[in-house]
């Protein structure tokens, strides 16, 4: 078991290291244009400079807060509506066309509308993230409720569960695995959308760092921004994994 864990860990970090290794080798061999493809090993000093002079950590913090804020703003009502749609068919029939239509719209396209409604401040950035993930969470949650074996409901009813108890002891735990699938997808979307939004709105944040560096041809800073974005996504996924393990201790049941 320990051996298996060690191999797992090694394989997990092997792919990114391999890519960095190839990149580094090609750069040192002079096969890559050093202006556009500087060797990864030369990015270290850029990181130090960005942290010291341009408050890179502040940018990361701001982007993370926007993601988390928007995530909560979208996911909490999303789970609530998804549960309602799964449990009550009139609610499902009423919201379904809306959900299906809006789900398919590229969310960044809604940004101008969101800015008109909520201004160019922080709120509009939270709102665009929330909108982008809302229906994703709704549809996954609803699917989770609908997929629960009706036998569980019968067991609960037979033992005297009220409607509310049915919801609390069957619908909610039964849908949790699907809810987490939705949240996982939503987290990826949130990252995509916040970087895109920061591209388009001058100020702070990791997306803006990437865009601004590109505009001023500071390729190294841009690359650092990209790598940081990747690391943020990875860290957020790990965090969600930990939460899921606590929330669904019976995982592995399927």
């Amino acid at each position: 078991m320990r051996r298996r864990r060690a191999i797992e860990l090694a394989l997990t970090i092997a792919a990114p290291l391999l890519i960095l290794g190839i990149w580094e080798a090609l750069a040192r061999a002079g096969r890559l244009d050093p202006i556009f493809w500087p060797a990864p090993s030369t990015l270290g000093e850029t990181v130090t400079r960005l942290v010291r002079e341009d408050d890179l950590l502040g940018d990361i913090r701001i982007s993370l807060l926007r993601i988390l804020g928007g995530f909560l703003l979208g996911a909490v009502p999303g789970v609530a509506l998804g549960l309602a749609m799964g449990l009550f068919w009139p609610v499902r029939v009423f919201f379904m066309p809306l959900a299906a239509a809006i789900y398919a719209v590229p969310k960044i396209a809604v940004l101008p509308l969101v800015i008109i409604a909520f201004g160019i401040g922080e709120l509009s950035k939270l709102v665009i993230v929330a909108i982008s993930i809302f229906f994703l969470v709704v549809l996954n949650t609803m699917g989770g409720v609908l997929a629960i074996d009706p036998m569980y409901r019968d067991v609960a009813r037979n033992l005297g569960a009220s409607r509310f108890e049915l919801f609390l002891t069957v619908a909610l735990p039964g849908a949790l695995p699907a809810i987490f699938t939705g949240l996982r997808l939503a987290l990826g979307f949130a990252l995509i959308v916040i970087v895109g939004t920061e591209f388009l709105s001058p100020g702070r944040g990791i997306g803006y760092l990437i865009w601004e560096s590109y505009q001023t041809l500071q390729i190294k800073a841009m690359l650092v921004g990209l790598i940081v974005t990747g690391l943020m996504g990875w860290a957020l996924t790990l965090l969600l994994d930990v939460i899921e393990r606590v929330a669904i201790p019976w995982r592995g049941a399927e």
Binding site: L159, P173, G252
Partner: protein
């Protein structure tokens, strides 16, 4: 409390505890009928079922698959309403009767531990944590799962899960235990052990049991009476008294000369119905 009314939910006073020696409830159905609307037209699952089960009786129902056995149990449990006819479940002392259904297959909640599953019904009834924990532990001892109390269902075997389902039903101390092919998915050895356990539990608690099975063998070993159901629409075709003495053991029943004879009679009857059911399926739209 004449007719416990059509399809009415039957609940118990809060705080029912595990008590031995209580008398079971009686079950009476009259003209029970259930039709389902399907895309290809209405299907009559059961038709004109008249059934009487005495308090404390162990009654088995056998019939071809798809004959509405499960429908009948759901109607008696109050989980479904009949299209016409009535179900009455009554306690000898006139109190409100309780029933618990043991479902076929995977009915144990995967998101609760073994212990939480067993205590589930008691929790719904508002029994305090300490008391329901104690009751659950007692039942886990009865079904031999004490050391798996904290396990989740996916960590234990199918046979153990079915034990959990039975313990969960027994936890609410029902007057009427409804069992829908509870041992159907188990291997033979596990089934034998659980049949013995069920016999022992039934003999000590005196609950009424309505037990649906596709196994004549199982019905003869467990029941006082076997009801043979006809092919769809299901109706009670015959009631056969099972003569073996109580308390029973698997080996004593199987070695009884009357065992083979009764098996033959029952199978002859059931065979006609099974054949009819097969012909109907082959002639049907599918």
């Amino acid at each position: 409390m004449a007719e416990a009314a059509i399809g009415q939910r039957i609940t118990s006073p809060a705080g029912a505890t595990v008590a031995a020696g209580q008398r079971g409830a009686s079950v009476v159905t009259r003209g029970l009928e259930r039709r389902f609307e399907t895309p290809t037209g209405p299907v009559e699952a059961i038709h004109d079922v008249d059934l009487t089960v005495a308090p404390g009786e162990f009654c088995a129902i056998v019939g071809p698959s798809g004959c509405g056995k499960s429908t009948l149990l759901r109607l008696v449990a109050g989980l479904d309403r009949p299209t016409s006819g009535a179900v009455a479940v009554e306690r000898v002392d006139g109190g409100r009767p309780t029933n618990a259904l043991v479902f076929q297959g995977r009915s144990v909640f995967p998101w609760l531990t073994v212990r939480q599953n067993v205590a589930y019904g008691l929790k719904l009834r508002g029994v305090r944590r300490a008391r329901r924990g104690k009751a659950a532990d007692e039942l886990l001892r009865t079904v031999g799962l004490t050391s798996f109390a904290r396990a989740y269902p996916h960590q234990i075997s199918e046979g153990m899960r079915q034990r959990v389902a039975i313990a969960r039903a027994l936890a609410v101390d029902p007057d009427l235990l409804l069992m829908d092919e509870p041992f159907g998915a188990l291997d033979e050895q596990t089934r034998f052990l659980l049949q013995e356990e069920l016999l022992r539990i039934w003999e000590t608690t005196g609950k009424t049991v309505l037990f649906v099975t596709h196994s004549i063998d199982e019905a003869m070993i467990l029941a006082d009476r076997i009801l043979v159901m006809s092919a769809q629409p299901g109706t009670i075709r015959a009631a056969l008294e099972v003569p073996f003495a109580r308390p029973r053991s698997l080996t004593a029943v199987r070695s009884d000369p009357a065992f083979a004879e009764m098996f033959t009679t029952t199978w002859a009857m059931l065979r006609e119905e099974v054949t009819a059911a097969r012909q109907m399926r082959e002639a049907g739209p599918r």
